[in-house]
Assembly symmetry: C2
Homo-oligomer: 345 residues x 2
DNA sequence: TCGGCGGGCGAGAGCGCTCTCACCACGCTG
DNA sequence: CAGCGTGGTGAGAGCGCTCTCGCCCGCCGA
């Protein structure tokens, strides 16, 4: 726990280099329009003094912070312990770092905490926000719109996907689900069940839609609602087994639930994939590769989603390529998914 | 992607309330020494204008940022996809939020990235740092010491645990390991093996030490070195089975490896816990509760560790309780662990 | 009645930076 | 040779806030 030492200012560097503050500032910010001799002298002075610009002073005048908030609404513990989020964060971090932006992490803890986040975002501490709004009734997006801060959402927000100004990055949940179910059908399975995620999340709803796209008039008994947790997957699988003992395939809306379903199937004496084929969603390696048998699943590139979110936001902030006047406002992106075949289907 | 609106300044509030800037500032910062009438008037003006203080301007003069950096060295992907880290982050976030501090997340991507982090920390953007230094040869701690910024480490740093000025928060890895092995011994097991974590991390080394504390002259063949991954656990278990077919218990240095070991044991036809008892470490719910059988393990309160790290740092920053002159410099904390009995031992 | 004292408030000086603008010295054209 | 850019530099005015002073006024004791 050392204490912070007094830091040299622009003024000090200027004095040492024998130039004005303005010149030092120019050099520090790229050095355009300064003679090479002076650039050299200033650089030397900066090094010798160990000068580092004071970001607060800089922000005060530029009104830029080179910082982006990442907001994670986290009503339940589950969400955060999820590697899904960690991977996305990693992608975000990489992209922000590459553009010299800092990542300010805002986790909400319960209801009244939203106000705090709203205040922070409105407070102009950051240049933009990346928001993970998971549930339909989340008040957060509303607050953020009010804060009037450039924002990109992770996952399609449930409210008003039609609003043009809303920018989000999502996987092709519906298409991925279709691929999964078609694959099962291609295996000759006909009694294909679906274990849904928490349906107040668009990802779950979209995957269900994808399932229905293929199973046009599916037996409603083949659909069991769950919540993305392994325990929920187990429960749903038990229900399914009871309601439809003739089930010969299961598409679970994520890998965690698929792993739960696998356990229940094994417990019930069914062989996978011989008796019942199983497909998950996400391709979370630690889960999907370690199940018995290894899980066939729909892969989404989670890290890439994070990277893309950051890129979109930064672009909207015109940090980048301010060339074309047209179409500078970025629009939402939906990333493709791929089916990964392993042992379970 | 809305644009930021021009925000009212202190000056504007002062004008509206008919007082000076100084008075508004006083009210905004607690309102001591200002007559109630004026406090009221100022509060009203603040509300009406929607005034939010400009943090940059404030920091410029106070030299405080109310922001803490969380630095995660992440040479491998594994570390970050680990729920362990997410939980710790959550604890940190809670504590920081409670004290109105922001969390700036710094992830390092490879070697040369350390310099960037060092620069950032030295740049005086944050008031302190929370650092997860996982490996012995990590250059990060060195850089941070040089940056001269108050720091608390997550987990005992490998280098110089004797240095007094180093503050860290850790679990009682050694004690927890002892408990686990004693429990196995208490079950009447005598051929107790240990699957280690990556031994360049102190947590792994400490757990091995704890194992040795109990198994004083353990057969070296009973110790298999692994790396905290499920795959590593599997490999180690296979080795163990080959070297010592008579093994009747396994203490794995984390739950992930224990789950891998479990799979191998099942594959080899051994019954758990009848033939071989298994204990893990961490008590990661999603893993430990879902194995077959559910895993007996050593629980550490990960979220509490995070909370404590933040608390220690904040205290060192004298944000809190500046009462006692003595002992304000916080010292390291080692949290106790508890054995959680489930089905595997 | 008057001096002194102290609480409440405002004036003003920065904090460290960026950015506009004026200035200076060139070198070029007419 | 006058005139006019033009590229390089410095002076200075802020950005929005905090905080130290010093002033004013009301109240006390003498």
């Amino acid at each position: 726990m050392t204490d912070t030492a007094p830091r040299p200012t622009l003024e000090a560097v200027a004095a040492r280099a024998g130039v004005s503050r303005a010149t030092v500032s120019r050099v520090v910010n790229g050095g355009d329009g300064v003679r090479d001799v002076l650039v050299e002298r200033v650089r030397k002075a900066v090094d010798e003094l160990g000068y580092v610009p004071n970001q607060a002073a800089r922000s005060l005048v530029t009104r830029r912070h080179d910082a982006i908030a990442v907001v994670v609404a986290e009503p339940e513990t589950r969400v955060f312990a999820d590697p899904f989020f960690a991977l996305q964060l990693r992608g975000i971090s990489k992209e922000l770092t590459a553009h010299d932006n800092q990542l300010v992490l805002l986790l909400t803890e319960g209801r009244d905490d939203h106000a705090r986040v709203g205040r922070y975002l409105a407070g102009g501490h950051v240049d933009g926000a990346l928001v993970f709004s998971l549930h339909l009734d989340d008040p957060l997006p509303e607050l953020i719109q009010r804060a009037g801060i450039p924002t990109v959402f992770g996952g399609r927000p449930g409210w008003s996907a039609d609003r043009r100004e809303v920018v989000y990055v999502d996987s092709d949940n519906r298409g991925g689900a279709r691929d999964a179910v078609r694959h099962l059908a291609g295996l000759g399975r006909s009694r294909i069940a679906h274990i849904t995620g928490a349906l107040d999340q668009t990802s779950a709803a979209d995957r269900l839609d994808g399932y229905r796209d293929v199973m046009v008039d599916a037996d409603p008994l083949l659909i069991a609602e769950a919540d993305f947790t392994p325990a929920g997957g187990e429960r749903a699988m038990r229900e399914l087994l009871e309601r439809c003992p003739d089930v010969d395939a299961v598409f679970a809306a994520n890998d965690l639930m698929a792993s739960g379903a696998l356990r229940v199937l094994r417990g019930s004496g069914r062989r996978v994939p011989d008796d019942v084929a199983v497909i998950g969603f996400d391709d979370m390696r630690p889960v999907a590769e370690q199940t018995d048998p290894p899980l066939t699943t729909v892969r989404q590139d989670i890290e890439e989603m994070g990277r893309l979110m950051a890129r979109l936001l930064l672009r909207g902030l015109d940090r980048d390529a301010p060339r074309e006047g047209v179409g500078t406002t970025p629009s939402s992106v939906v990333l493709p998914t791929t089916l990964v075949r392993r042992g379970s289907a």
